[in-house]
């Protein structure tokens, strides 16, 4: 399939894309047949892919380690939840809120990035980690004196996406088919992901993308070549944050309920693992990494639990723990043995090879 996509012959290449498109369209119907829960899982996988594509701008393109990425996701999610739920009695349509989510997350990205991006990369890692914690503490505690986030209880009853009467959350019959809510969301999500992927490819091959690549490979040399490194890094940070914000807004609507529980540090690590597994800087690789790692917990649930029950009589190690262990291992092993990811991009491969 990848050979088809890279083929010189344009008609063959279109054939490759066509096959993928067909598979993407057919997939949710197959999943629906297995149960709506699986469509939901697929939706979350696509959402995580969107998130990973955003983090990829920061980690993959610009080479900045952001360990608090989930904070931007959280900011987006809360922005949507506050503007489209009974909590404040506001019910704006999603196409108005999603740009606001992006803008607010972008603002937070700039606020965090401006003071720290002048510094060396490893400081950034720790500051972003701290920022993620601050956001979580704020979400947990901003229920008083004015109730903004409703504290640990979170916000419930968040609106579905509706587009002039077309409700994405409602089950209905179109073209003689039964369309469940998650099924409708699936197509919207895939469309948004494709748009994001396209934007990323355009970015990567633009002047900005080349500047990021230069910074990643050698910051001092990049500065000597006349690149305003601080500005470019800030741009990467803000862009990544905006993607996170949009993903957060969608997450809010998809779940209908959010609480600080969903935005813990572990989630940042999971997204990072997706990017690392797929290959930092490689857009399709990152999407693939996200989809694979999203299905891991489900696969574990259906294999590890019954296996333990059969052999040991009870569940000793929960699949959730195994999942985190696997993610940790993935981070270490990928860096040791395949630093450029499952699908390495040529430049990144050369760059991450050891200097001799």
């Amino acid at each position: 399939m990848t050979n088809l996509l890279k083929s010189e012959n344009p008609s063959l290449r279109w054939l490759g894309f066509g096959m993928i498109a067909l598979a993407l369209i057919a997939l949710p119907f197959a999943l629906q047949w297995a149960g709506t829960a699986w469509v939901r899982i697929a939706n979350l996988a696509v959402l995580f892919a969107l998130l990973s594509v955003g983090l990829n701008i920061v980690v993959g393109f610009a080479g900045l380690l952001d360990l608090g990425y989930i904070a931007f996701f959280a900011v987006g999610a809360y922005t949507y939840a506050l503007l489209a739920s009974p909590h404040f009695g506001l019910h704006l349509p999603f196409y108005v809120i999603l740009p606001i989510c992006a803008a607010v997350a972008c603002l937070f990205g700039v606020l965090l990035g401006a003071p720290t991006l002048k510094l060396r990369g490893d400081y950034l890692a720790i500051v972003t980690l701290g920022f993620g914690e601050i956001i979580r503490i704020l979400m947990n505690n901003l229920s008083q004196p004015i109730n903004i986030t409703n504290g640990p209880q979170g916000i419930t009853g968040i609106d579905n996406f509706t587009f002039f009467g077309f409700d994405f959350g409602k089950k209905e019959e179109i073209f003689g088919f039964e369309w469940s809510g998650p099924l409708k969301y699936y197509f919207l999500l895939v469309a948004i992901l494709m748009l994001a992927v396209m934007v990323n490819f355009r970015l990567k091959n633009s002047r900005i993308g080349r500047a990021w690549e230069a910074i990643r490979e050698d910051e001092i040399a990049a500065r000597a070549m006349g690149i305003d490194t601080t500005k470019m890094k800030l741009l990467a940070f803000a862009m990544g944050a905006s993607f996170g914000g949009v993903a957060g807004g969608i997450f809010s609507a998809l779940q209908g309920f959010i609480s600080p529980e969903s935005f813990v540090l572990g989630e940042s690590i999971i997204v990072l693992a997706m990017v690392v597994l797929g290959g930092m800087g490689n857009i399709w690789g990152v999407v693939l990494g996200a989809v694979l790692l999203s299905f891991v917990p489900e696969i574990l649930r259906y294999t590890v639990e019954p296996f333990q029950k059969m052999v040991l009589g009870q569940v000793w190690i929960e699949p959730e723990i195994i999942r985190m262990l696997l993610f940790g291992l993935a981070l270490v092993l990928m860096m040791l043995y395949r630093p450029a990811g499952m699908l390495p991009s040529a430049v990144r491969k050369r760059e991450l090879a050891k200097e001799e």
């Binding site: 380690l65 990369g121 490893d122 601050i134 050698d218 262990l325 270490v332 860096m335 050891k354």
Partner: protein, 313 residues
């Protein structure tokens, strides 16, 4: 005034623990410019091991003197933590010494996650009650209606951490290993040419840091009385902030930064309610460390005692 002194005492105690953990970060950073994210988890493991030993001792040998129990627990925790520090460096950092900086940072995160979840499998996901074997004695420091007090445990924590800092300063400035460590931190290649076994020196650095971490774990457990598999992570973050505040790579800086951070946190948590008219409460305590970190990075990125260093190409 009594409240102020009380918060100061609490802050200094907390700061001593931060300082000891910060030493582990700053030593490793000074020598190979790596933020060892997993150091906080080593501290937590030190706490968990001593928790296990203490619980076992209390159950089997209740007649043993409490001080001896704590000493035994610490002596068991230290070598085990050193082993973890050594193994971690060999497996995850050494092969990446020449790789771009991003690579070891990512493995460090991976190691931290692995350690946390292994501990969670062994010790469960609950808060564990750390055995308080030493009977608490409280001394009044001021004489008022509600006098400021200091406990024997607080005194021991402060004294032990000062002793460890002095020991470390002696080690780094007066022994052959210390000279080798400083040489490696200045220039690995040249140090190697001068006959310093770089790999051994780096391993020793990790092991010394881990040993300090183990003691910090015991102190943390005895002071708070509760230990959890994620305890080390936030503690590590704060200790790192302390190291940056004092000037990373600088031993005295780590101690100063740790103490200052502890005091800022204690005073901040104690007074934030009054200062903001009850808007914010002490549940924002964890935010202070990061605010301090960000402020330091903006205004004095080299830290209080650090020298300005340029980027290494």
């Amino acid at each position: 005034m009594d409240t102020f002194i009380q918060q100061l005492i609490n802050g200094v105690t907390l700061g001593s623990v931060y300082a000891v953990v910060a030493l582990g970060y700053t030593m490793v950073y000074g020598i190979i410019q790596l933020i060892n994210f997993a150091h906080g988890d080593v501290v937590m493991i030190g706490g968990m091991i001593s928790y296990t030993v203490l619980t076992a001792l209390v159950a089997s040998n209740p007649a043993l003197s409490p001080i001896l129990m704590v000493v035994i627990a610490t002596l068991v925790a230290i070598p085990l933590c050193m082993g973890i520090g050594f193994t971690m460096e060999r497996i995850a950092y050494k092969p990446l010494r020449k790789a771009p900086r991003l690579a070891p940072l990512i493995t460090a995160i991976g190691i931290s996650i692995i350690l946390q979840h292994l501990v969670m499998i062994i010790f469960s996901r609950n808060n564990l009650a750390y055995p308080q074997v030493i009977p608490l004695v409280t001394y009044n420091v001021t004489s008022g209606a509600t006098p400021a007090t200091i406990t024997n445990i607080q005194i021991v924590i402060i004294i032990v951490s000062i002793l460890m800092m002095l020991g470390l300063l002696y080690l780094v400035h007066r022994t052959k290993l210390g000279i080798a460590m400083r040489a490696v931190s200045q220039n690995q290649q040249v140090a190697g040419l001068m006959g310093v076994d770089i790999n051994r020196v780096i391993s020793y650095t990790f092991m010394i840091g881990a040993a300090l971490g183990a003691v910090a774990g015991v102190m943390w457990g005895s002071y708070y009385g509760i230990i959890h598999y994620t305890s080390g992570f936030i503690l590590g973050l704060k200790a790192f902030s302390a190291a940056v505040l004092g000037g990373i790579g600088n031993l005295a800086g780590a101690m100063l930064g740790g103490l200052l951070l502890g005091i800022i946190e204690a005073l901040g948590a104690g007074y934030i309610g009054d200062l903001t008219g009850g808007w914010f409460g002490s549940n924002y305590q964890d935010v202070f460390a990061f605010l301090v970190l960000i402020a330091v990075l903006i205004f004095r990125p080299s830290g209080l005692l650090g020298e300005r260093v340029g980027d290494r190409a």
